[in-house]
Symmetry: C2
Subunit: 468 residues, 2 copies
Amino acid sequence: MARVLTPRAEDFPRWYQDLIAKAKLADNGPVRGTMVIRPAGYAIWERMQAEMDARIKAAGAENAYFPLFIPESYLKREAEHVEGFSPELAVVTHGGGKQLAEPVVVRPTSETVIGEFMAKWIDSYRDLPLLLNQWANVVRWELRPRIFLRTSEFLWQEGHTAHATREDARAYARRILHEAYEDLMVNVLGIPVVVGLKTARERFAGATATYTCEGMMGDGKALQLGTSHELGQNFAKAFDISYSSAEGGREHAWTTSWGTSTRMLGGLIMAHGDDNGLRVPPRLAPIQAYVMIVKDGEGVAEAAAKLCDGLRDAGVRVALDDRTDTAFGRRAVDAELRGYPVRVEVGPRDLAAGNATVVRRTDGSKSPTPVADVVGAVLAALEADQKALHDQALAHRLSRTVEVATLAEAIEAAANGWARVPWSVVGVAGEAEANGQGVTVRCLLRADGSVPDSEDEPDLVAILARAY
Amino acid sequence: MARVLTPRAEDFPRWYQDLIAKAKLADNGPVRGTMVIRPAGYAIWERMQAEMDARIKAAGAENAYFPLFIPESYLKREAEHVEGFSPELAVVTHGGGKQLAEPVVVRPTSETVIGEFMAKWIDSYRDLPLLLNQWANVVRWELRPRIFLRTSEFLWQEGHTAHATREDARAYARRILHEAYEDLMVNVLGIPVVVGLKTARERFAGATATYTCEGMMGDGKALQLGTSHELGQNFAKAFDISYSSAEGGREHAWTTSWGTSTRMLGGLIMAHGDDNGLRVPPRLAPIQAYVMIVKDGEGVAEAAAKLCDGLRDAGVRVALDDRTDTAFGRRAVDAELRGYPVRVEVGPRDLAAGNATVVRRTDGSKSPTPVADVVGAVLAALEADQKALHDQALAHRLSRTVEVATLAEAIEAAANGWARVPWSVVGVAGEAEANGQGVTVRCLLRADGSVPDSEDEPDLVAILARAY
């Protein structure tokens, strides 16, 4: 097969850009840092949305929609928040042909405006917990944009909840972290993320604790794929989100927020892509089986249509490629680029022998298969390859992660992958030193791998890496 | 039941605002003209989206996403388009702490930016038709905002397609009009829209033909619920969307665009709402059956849970209200306000007689029903009430529509409903005169009710009305 992409080993960032362009996943937008998500990319995002939305709803949150435009004054009410976001804001100064009395910012995130409405809607303890989520676009002006990873506008879900106690808020932030984010990433995206606590330095602007899901990419770097924050009473006090307790007093609520974005598309590409293109895990894939007519011939179209029906009846997401006026080789290269998990190639020669060819994207295997057995073979391949992609990514992560004892070793190891090092030998000073060399503390874990409550717990492990 | 809303007959606009507030559908946002869509309103929007998205995909279009920010220069390339939208634009002048070299506008609609990318993606006739849709927020600065009907930011889908010929473009604009828009509005929303052609004066800025779905609201006014446009070659020429034909020449494409928005929520409220609140047609309703525990008692919770399971198994969308610490009367009023099609009330007294009470929102009827028969009764009610709401709205429209012969009569009739009048007696001059009195030509129809190709066809009927 002709070389279509720059090989990953040669230039990983170039490979990433090539893949996005050639698989027609996205384009750069006309305004610097913005992106156009093309149908092939958007279809994957829609599947991520559907899976995420179901998990968020299962955790009891309801979808709502808050305005794109936020008064500049709102941002200023929480000191750390405004400091964190000010350098990235887009500001609207004119509307309807006139200069605005107060400039409005395009939301970089919605804690402030949602805080304002939570304060209106919450009266008593009976109104708690208030569990909200929204699917929206947000804008953060990016100086070094890269499609899906850092764009000036991106699509995301942002959850915002209010609770009666710190314990309730913590439990919910962690419930979303594990039951929605980790579960989706591991079991649908096939990315074996490490879930941990961010250091104070890496915390969300305005949070008291930030939890994160970190994935290892094909080049050994880390990508933060989703975060969940405890906001303490910071926003509750700034926006007066309070409730009358069962005992009759007036208390400030405890809030959380949590988000995942189109960045997951970048993570998917970099976690599973190979030198031939994307590989989409079957549970995620908008098209799981791609039925291709190799060339026209007696009974070929009928056989392909029948296979599509059979696969569809078995619950498989199917597409038919009957564009026989385009060379088969070119279509096959495109199918590899797009990463459809299974191709079913139907041509006159195979068909004369009663076969179709089942091609698995994960390992490239091609198996002539009796037509009557194709549905079963596809189902088996989809099941096996979901696991295979996850297991390959896990093996990759383990092979590129080293246990070290000193900060110097950790920084050195981060040139090639992740370093696990005692947090006690890094500390705040060591973290600053690592940052100076382009290495960050991705998260902190307990020795047993569980998520700590605070960076002050003893015996924590820090994961250091270069990151996107 | 205590009066909760201003009666419609007393003050229709006030009733509308009351209903939105009391049913917790939406709030005004902090920036003038923006809105917050609350969970009860958003759940209905999600159902509209799901039904619309399925129809759009069935018509072959694929979803994509284009940037929120558009270079100001793009808008200026199509003369009528920029003239139409300039007074409504929000302009971003600062990003990332700096003044921008070229101001960017927040999309009021995306013809221009999508035109730019269609030009890049279309090369030959094989790339046509190109059928795209996006779900997005758009901004049009509103001087007289009203929630759902006219807001500075709203949510919508906008479809954009490119075709090889005028005939193909026309056929597709009409396919969406009928198969997606009219079908959804009539058969899901239960609003018997009239589908017709806009006059030149009412056309979309940059279109050569605009088709519309017009619904009659409870006060006899019209609401435009969706439009589909033929854009001719206007945008294709402005953005150089061209293709090489099978014969080898280079031709400009013919494009269309079409949109429906959160305005449909306003239409739903005003078409079906009554003095007790919203009435949501069963096929649309996020909650079709609302199972309420009247008060605690032996076996009540178990019976309610079992009814929920039975309804869910029968494919009904169910919610359980077991908040017995809130007065039943208050909860019942809320359920009326929200417009759940059927309530199933489960209480100790009824249950002792083996019954639950099935309450239909459409006609207010309350039927004690043996527990074993509840699922069947609910299914029958949902089926019947979908039709009943549509038929009531149709009867209302017919009763408030009059056939008249002159412009003066039409303007007079529009005080109370819709007027059907020969377009030949209105014409361009008559339309301007009607506009001066707050009456607009909603659309033009052929005598047989079908949609004309041009306003120059003979024997057209014009529908004149006051409109939102």
